[in-house]
């Protein structure tokens, strides 16, 4: 596989809109258990952030009949990058057009991925300005450390399910200019998963094949904490709060992420990981390709991958009404 050299207009994953059929319980989960801060509300939505997120919000929690992802947004590197990238996306036939933005950010271009996930890009943003009681002691920090619950630091990455993994990877590479750092290729040549980045983080976004062939489903959203010890403590806190722990803490072989997966009360899968030392600094990092046999080995230290990890997403398959891959 030849090295992927790209220059991206995307600055970083900016926020995700999660849909919850139990919005009050979901909100309590994100504030009391995850330790996030409510920054604003509008209509059926509450806007939340981790203590080191520099923008207005990284999570928009919206009441909805069915769980899932409303949209995800990337911030771009400049006003020019916004115009340029919107034009490329539009020309490729994925664009939905411009909006005035939302609480916390300005003019926004809206579009869908090849798999039907809703996305946005924007540049103008509102930097978070903490109220007096949330002012940090050190001025190079976005907000005071909350010392409450899991104390998630910042939005880390997003995982999707896709009916067509290869098409979605090519979309993110060719239309959005991201780089693939790791991927799974089955013995029959089919792609089963891809991990992609627009930054020096080894991934900002990942997706794996939807076992039901459904399109555009959501797998999980990840907030980062500072250390593996913080992830272990998160497990203690989830246990105390009756939060369903699906799997972990353990270490993925792929990307070596130290992971912990839970379901928030609305049914969406949430991960807490260690925002660690692993960076991709090489501009020509060749994608690491994992085989079917290697994937069968399970996680790094031998834990078998839990079955629901391959099948559960939101909307849950019973609530999914869209098309399926044949």
């Amino acid at each position: 596989m030849k090295p992927t050299i790209r220059s991206s207009d995307l600055a970083h994953l900016a926020h995700v809109e999660l849909l919850s059929p139990k919005p009050d319980e979901s909100l309590r989960f994100f504030t009391d258990v995850m330790g996030m801060t409510v920054n604003d509300r509008r209509g059926e939505s509450v806007y939340l952030r981790g203590w080191d997120d520099y923008e207005h919000h990284t999570l928009k929690l919206t009441a909805s009949k069915v769980a899932g992802m409303g949209h995800m947004a990337f911030r771009v590197t400049s006003p020019e990058a916004l115009e340029r990238r919107a034009a490329i996306i539009d020309a490729a036939g994925f664009g939905h057009g411009w909006t005035e933005g939302d609480l916390g950010h300005g003019r926004t271009f809206s579009f869908s991925t090849t798999d039907g996930h809703r996305m946005e890009i924007y540049y103008e943003t509102e930097w978070y300005a903490p109220p007096p009681q949330l002012k940090p002691a050190l001025k190079n920090q976005a907000q005071r450390y909350p010392a409450r619950g899991v104390n998630v630091r910042r939005l880390d990455h997003l995982n999707l399910l896709a009916a067509d993994v290869r098409a979605l990877r090519l979309f993110f590479e060719d239309v959005l200019g991201m780089r693939t750092t790791e991927m799974i290729v089955l013995d029959n040549g089919e792609e089963a998963g891809a991990w992609m980045t627009a930054t020096n983080k080894s991934y900002d976004l990942a997706f794996t094949a939807d076992h039901y062939g459904a399109r555009g489903r959501f797998h999980h959203l990840t907030y980062a904490v500072d250390s593996r010890e913080d992830v272990l403590r998160a497990a203690d806190i989830f246990l105390e709060n009756g939060v369903y722990i699906e799997t972990g803490p353990h270490k993925h072989a792929i990307q070596q992420t130290f992971f912990l997966y839970v379901y928030e009360p609305g049914g969406n899968r949430i991960e807490v990981d260690n925002a660690g030392a692993r960076l991709v600094l090489a501009p020509d990092w060749p994608p690491v390709v994992w085989t079917e046999a290697e994937r069968r080995l399970g996680q790094a230290w031998g834990l078998k991958t839990i079955e629901s990890f391959h099948t559960y997403g939101t909307p849950p398959i019973e609530d999914y009404t869209g098309p399926r891959r044949k």
Copy 2:
């Protein structure tokens, strides 16, 4: 201060050449205590690396009469970036011209900073290929975890002393295209320190004012480990090995780095830090400016900055023979 938006041709800090008057003892320090791997030797130099460094080497240790830095090198993002950036540097009057490179990397453009530090940039590199006994269990890792000494993971950043901080900052911004993320400005308007990045790490390079007004001296080199706990363990290991601990472990207010400073046997200051969660993802991050009064507060948790931190560098001032700022 207005936001600094730049597009850099620099990919990342690649390696540093350290000069040691006690090369054998320095080598034992880097291999047995720091846990680094010797990858090659040539002439008076030994080439070393941390277990997650992807290139041929990140440290070139060279026997010399006097301690100090031989040169530092950045890898650039592409062959085109190399040509473009070399032309800019040359046009600005700092260039020394092209060489065929060194062990581990190809064609190289050599130059000096405004303060006289020797620098290089290159693109072509030799990816590290571990011998069988150093093959990692997980193929997305450069080398097997050594489980020896401090187990440093990768080169993190470099600190310099400068006769003229402002001139050096402008050089790195304007000639090399780096971004300033934090800085110290004294009450009289003079700049006393700057932290700069070419990546999403909050700094790859920093420099502070040389109290003796000497030019081009070296302050320290930093290798990253995975956690604050690893830094604490490093302190235990330095203690056991009779390595001089100058200060730390403690947390800097500036950049919030969890630091530990020691002197290697040749006299160069070496830092071990936590390659942590703190990333600068915002493309328009405005430099955080620290005042004289704020700097007097000391480190984050109240430790007073040790005096030698302001005065000791290599070459030691008694061995320094160059010009001084008036």
Copy 3:
């Protein structure tokens, strides 16, 4: 020095009564910042505990004109041990007599140390029974993990100042049956400090010479957290809450404790340490004796001992009205 083999009737350090001239602020410190739980109130006192303390309380916080320690209490191993030990103390001339106890514990024998510190011993205790909202998920844990502030786990040890260290050490050895695990002996033969235990913890109690020669003052009280990482996080939290950090985090040479000292709003020094792996299992552990020269080396990793550590205690010397050693 010959091994100290003793059989102790003391089970463990049980609780400490702290006196605060700012009781409301002190209470907020212990609940919101330290993460402790209020279990009861009576008169001018509030009874608090860490999440893994099994008794009714380990801290009795009492409003008072001057800061300091009201008393400290040890639980003994059995009803018989209580009678036996009370008789020994009384016979030695230190007894004040029996009381009916306090909230949380039964019949109590009260006495003073050679240096005038007030002490109590008792056996009958009220095991903590958490209300529904504080019930832990795992039934082998005293209370739910609070996930608030520093989350101190349990009372760890107590440090006193003494006008006569040697006399106090002999009192704890001969009258109370404790073991000395480490001590400081000056070049002139005078004892400057002692660390003593009644358990397999390497110390439950310590004391050092009062530089003012005052009698019966309090140095600090220590709550344990689970790891060095938790101590570092505590430092972050103290910083955010404007709590005065006196020194640390760092590692003591003596006992190798990973320490962090702050002053609670009432003026009493409080320590957070790592309830670590270091246990004294040997029944015949010979006291480790540190010399004057060794003590001058400072802490384990080279930090110089802060001056106030030798001089500050409560009551502050300006409020102290008792006798002084000549």
Copy 4:
């Protein structure tokens, strides 16, 4: 269940003799991977220790046709305790008589448990005196921190399999004077496991029912490291060294131990755990009793207990030739 108040003559678990059919490979595992130190050799045995073990050895590794445990030994609290306890054991009919001891310890009384495990008690011991190159920087530490492999600190506890759990628990309580801190009782009243202590550690010894009804088999031996982070790093190191990881790292519900189980090359199960903050200080700690239903819930954070954990022991059942429980 009424509180168990006992006074024990046992000081602590002292050492274990492991039998290995691959003694050279086992030795490499304990030295290179676990980071232990060889202190002596005699006949077919090598004597090893962790860096904070104060005695001559805590592991005696002996070449043998079949894997398993040779014997385990407890040190007692005094010469008088040795005589007293030997007499009690002998009177109860379990004694084998006195020997002159072994390398590192003096006069020894030998006996068997109700289940046939070989045991020894002794008092006279040889304190470890490190050679110059292993002298620690801090004199209150047994040996220099090795900074090699997993760096196990000290022997922590021992787990056995038993044909009759209840009989074995009563033996340790009544004949040896240990306390039970946690236990499993099935719906039919049968005891399936017990955790016992002679110290303030919450257990020094544990045993569970042998699913094959075999007598006197060995389950695992545990060495402690300083933190959960050290256990995670141990997993990385086992992975790099091709050591079979059976399960973990994860947290047990029972005793809340943070565990990691591997098989050493000779086939014996070895655990690395976190020598943590959890101590049993209460002299009247009532045993925590877990039900069949609770045990089915799996480990603390939801991991299902691996099947081999219930069935695998040494000698492996295929090599076991002794009697079985009906």
